[in-house]
């Protein structure tokens, strides 16, 4: 791995943050302790989900053929691509932070940008377990209205954004 300027900035951020939290616990600085506790509980929450997500991404990259993804989700695929993406997003666990790496893998396997953006937005708003949970607190009517209004808007805006970027020959940066 190369050591780049960005990495140094990241590492120094981490170092400063842990120093700040460490000193806060030593000196009894309450805000620093609270921030530290937040950090730990969120890290644990994420560490529960991320390993599964990345293992599944790895398996997906190895087994699923590019032609297959291209056929169903690629540039020549029709409207069904967006429906598939909404349904697939429904099964996503976690939230946006899980959706980004999955979306990136889908795109590198040939899914069109519009489908990828649909997946990201839909994994924010129509994850099935989350929606059921929402309905139990807010009422079914609330969830239904929210889904019925947002899904068409998500698909429409993703189509437009995807077409716009593909017309400009936009390429994703390769994450290495």
């Amino acid at each position: 791995m190369k050591i780049t300027g960005k990495k140094i900035i990241n590492l120094s951020c981490l170092f400063l943050f842990s120093a700040f939290v460490g000193i806060s616990f030593k000196t009894g600085f309450i805000p620093g302790q609270k921030i530290g506790n937040n950090f730990i509980s969120f890290s644990l929450e994420m560490l529960k989900i991320l390993p599964c997500a990345f293992v599944l991404i790895g398996i997906f990259e190895v087994w699923v053929k590019k032609e297959k993804v291209e056929k169903h989700l690629g540039k020549s695929s029709g409207f069904m691509a967006y429906i598939w993406m909404v349904l697939f997003a429904g099964t996503t666990v976690g939230g946006l932070y899980v959706a980004f790496p999955v979306a990136y893998s889908l795109h590198s396997k040939g899914a069109k940008l519009g489908a990828v953006f649909t997946y990201i937005a839909a994994s924010g708003i129509c994850r099935v377990p989350m929606t059921l949970f929402e309905a139990s607190f807010m009422g079914i009517k609330f969830s239904v209205i929210r889904l019925v209004v947002s899904i068409p808007l998500v698909i429409l805006s993703s189509m437009i954004l995807g077409h716009y970027l593909e017309k400009k020959d936009y390429r994703l940066t390769t994450v290495e």
Partner: protein, 160 residues
């Protein structure tokens, strides 16, 4: 949550039985992808922990509860955009707010921006999709959330 582990385990086992080398390769890819994005995740976690300290639940309750609907909706959408909460914290909070008399429109703005717009996830999204696309996607999501909020308000008769 356990189902996710079981599912992952089952998938890995099936893959292993079918082709051992491919599975090793897959796990290698997993690890590489994970380690590449890890710094961005760390930055996100730092941002979340600081923002959640600066904007505690009590502050959200206070701000959303005491405003007129237009201001409430806008404030709610801003809160939702800059914070990040798992659903199992966010919806009980919305439930409390609902009982306190906060309108459905305000809560729709809050929960939808919470799930779709990510200020703290910016470091991660930027790594994969670039700064420009990240900003565009988040702006579009913010607009969609506002439209959803207004639609919810209309259905519950809160607009007039």
């Amino acid at each position: 949550m356990y189902y996710v582990y079981l599912f992952t385990l089952a998938v890995v086992l099936i893959s292993f039985c079918k082709d051992r080398n491919k599975t090793y390769k897959a796990l290698k890819i997993s690890w590489k992808k994970f380690s590449v994005i890890l710094p961005a995740f760390a930055i996100m976690l730092i941002l979340v922990s600081i923002i959640l300290y600066l904007i505690p639940d009590s502050m959200i309750v206070e701000f959303l509860g005491n405003n007129n609907k237009t201001a409430g909706t806008i404030i709610a959408s801003l809160f939702g955009s800059i914070t990040l909460m798992p659903g199992f914290i966010a919806y009980p909070l919305c439930g409390i707010l609902l009982k306190k008399g906060v309108s459905y429109m305000v809560l729709a703005a809050f929960s939808t921006t919470l799930m779709m717009v990510g200020f703290v996830t910016f470091p991660i999204e930027k790594t994969y999709f670039g700064t420009k696309v990240t900003i565009m996607r988040n702006c579009i999501s913010f607009l969609i959330a506002l439209i959803v909020a207004v639609a919810v308000g209309a259905f519950y008769g809160e607009l007039l």
